[in-house]
């Protein structure tokens, strides 16, 4: 009889050798094997393949054609769409707008959100009510929010012009002014979603142990010093989440623009998403629209990942 110990280690510990397999046992084994369990994410992967991956690849193909969006035929035109894109002054303008929407609203939302969060973290009777009201716009459709603000910015009889006309004879046309409209939309987006930053940062503030503040106070730290050395570094993880969420949301902005200016006048307030929409459905310029889509994909992914990476590094350096 050979000693079991003489067998190579692998054979002794191989899964099959550990249990004597009865048919029922084998069935159970198969069911509990991790490889079989991987089937559970197949439906999700299938959806991904059909609605994200496959269209994505097809979109790259379309960007090299002059497809009009409905014909069965199209011509391959090589890099022409890309050449056109990089020399198109409208596109340059729209990229700039997209960055203002993304970075501008994220900055404003987080500054305001942080202020509100610090304020609401105090002992306050109206705390719950304030939180409810500030967060309320975030759950309403951005399209409807755009219409609500339209009643303010309307040229004829808008709520803002009612006030302006008390002081001057000239009504303002903020939405029609190509230099102002992008910022007006950014402000509307900020109003709508600063509650998100507030809620996230407030949650971050509430997990900071009170002892830290007490210890700092005993060491003679004033309010400002406590904020700089206790609150700010410990708020870093919540800050990361809040900034990244807001940047992504702002870079993808679509509904509010559609509601307030429909990208106009001209393309002066368009974002990459609304520009693509107009090129595709307004001008049947599908090949070029697909090219803009690819640009949008690259810009948003790169910017979002870069900001995430930067903020994660910052979190580490602060702790």
């Amino acid at each position: 009889m050979s000693n079991d110990n003489e067998k190579p280690l692998a054979a002794r510990t191989a899964p099959g050798n550990r249990l004597r397999m009865t048919p029922g046992n084998r069935w159970h084994k198969a069911l509990s094997s991790p490889a079989w369990l991987n089937l559970l994410y197949v439906p999700a992967l299938l959806l991904f393949a059909v609605f994200i991956l496959y269209p994505f690849i097809r979109g790259i193909r379309y960007s090299f054609t002059n497809w009009d969006g409905y014909s069965q035929t199209f011509k391959w035109i090589g890099m022409q769409n890309y050449q056109r894109m990089f020399t198109d002054p409208d596109v340059a303008r729209v990229i700039k707008n997209t960055f203002i929407y993304g970075l501008g609203s994220a900055a404003l939302q987080n500054v305001i959100g942080l202020g509100y969060a610090l304020f609401l973290n105090m002992n306050l009777r109206l705390k719950a009510l304030t939180r409810t009201i500030v967060y309320l716009p975030a759950i309403i459709s951005p399209l409807i929010m755009g219409y609500i603000w339209y009643f303010f910015f309307q040229y004829n009889g808008g709520a803002i012009n009612d006030i302006v006309l008390l002081f001057s004879d000239e009504p303002t046309n903020l939405l029609g002014n190509p230099r102002a409209n992008v910022w007006v939309i950014t402000l509307v987006n900020t109003y709508q979603f600063c509650g998100v930053a507030m809620v996230i940062l407030l949650a971050g503030l509430q997990v900071i142990p009170k002892e830290y503040h007490e210890a700092a106070t005993i060491d003679g730290a004033g309010t400002l010093a406590r904020f700089r050395h206790v609150t700010w570094p410990l708020l870093a993880p919540a800050f990361t989440v809040s900034v990244v969420l807001n940047v992504i949301g702002g870079l993808k902005l679509f509904d509010v623009i559609a509601a307030l200016t429909n990208s106009g006048p001209g393309y002066s307030s368009a974002s990459l998403s609304t520009l693509m929409y107009l090129l595709y459905f307004g001008r049947q310029d599908a090949g070029y629209a697909a090219t803009i889509g690819n640009l949008m994909f690259v810009i948003i992914s790169v910017v979002s990942f870069a900001i995430l990476f930067f903020l994660k590094r910052r979190e580490e350096s602060l702790t």
Binding site: L31, S32, L37, L40, Y41, P43, A44, L45, L47, F48, V50, F51, I52, R58, G59, G69, F119, K127, L129, T130, T132, I133, Y135, P137, I139, I140, S141, P142, L143, M145, Y147, I148, F151, F152, G157, G158, A159, D162, Y191, V196, I200, A203, G204, V207, S242, K252, F254, A258, A259, L272, M276, Y277, A286, A289, A290, G293, F297, S304, F305, L308
Partner: protein
Amino acid sequence: MNKRPWWREALALLICVLHVLPFYVLMTTSFKAPSDLSSKWVMPGYLYLDNFANAWREAELANSFLNNVIVTAGAGLLLVAVGSIASYPLARYRTRLNRAVYGIFVSAMIVPPLSILVPLYRVMVDIGAMNRLWGIILLHVTFALPITIFLYTGFIRSIPMELEEAALIDGAGRFKLFYLILMPLLKPITATVIIVTCVNIWNDYQFSVFFLQRKEVHTITIALSGFFSQYNNYIGWVAAGSFLGAIPITAVYLLLQRYFIQGLSSGAVKG
């Protein structure tokens, strides 16, 4: 008696008033008769509901509300079913393959769905999903899967393995284990998932405007945007339509706001 300084309460009140202003103007505008040319800041001193009746009829809001409910409920259910089971192996068996799959799912959170609009439109036409509620449901599910899988996977990882091991030793199959042991434990995160994703699905405009073009399948936002461009001069109608469109989700939020705020904050602090 009261140690809290009064200026804080005053400041809180000021913030509330500022943030409520848009809703105030929405109200004055939607309750005002077309013949009343007073400022939008002035509340009408009479009760006038024709704007609401007209908006409800002209924008065919009844039908759009129904479609919204079908799309949101369908997508929410499917999302929870597909997302929760997909997260289980990803959370429990962190092989190299599964880590890669998880990475693919989660990094898709950053990808802007609209960037693939042109080819996606083509795909929807090809599979006969244009102007079909099931088509938009599948789209919503797909684009909400990344956040769903992210939330479920993180949550399942935080559940101790011992529970499942004990159940396995007692002879429970994986299926039983998932539905009898794990599913009940997943209730709180399921609530978060539903709130986070369904608000966006309910409010969606950017997909629905492309894929639900026929009137029978219009959702609220699509109905309103059509209504807005058609009746731009009847600002009272548009205001009443927007008002009606915002009511259902506002009501749900006010009733369940604790969950809304908890959901967002728990996801943020852990994530």
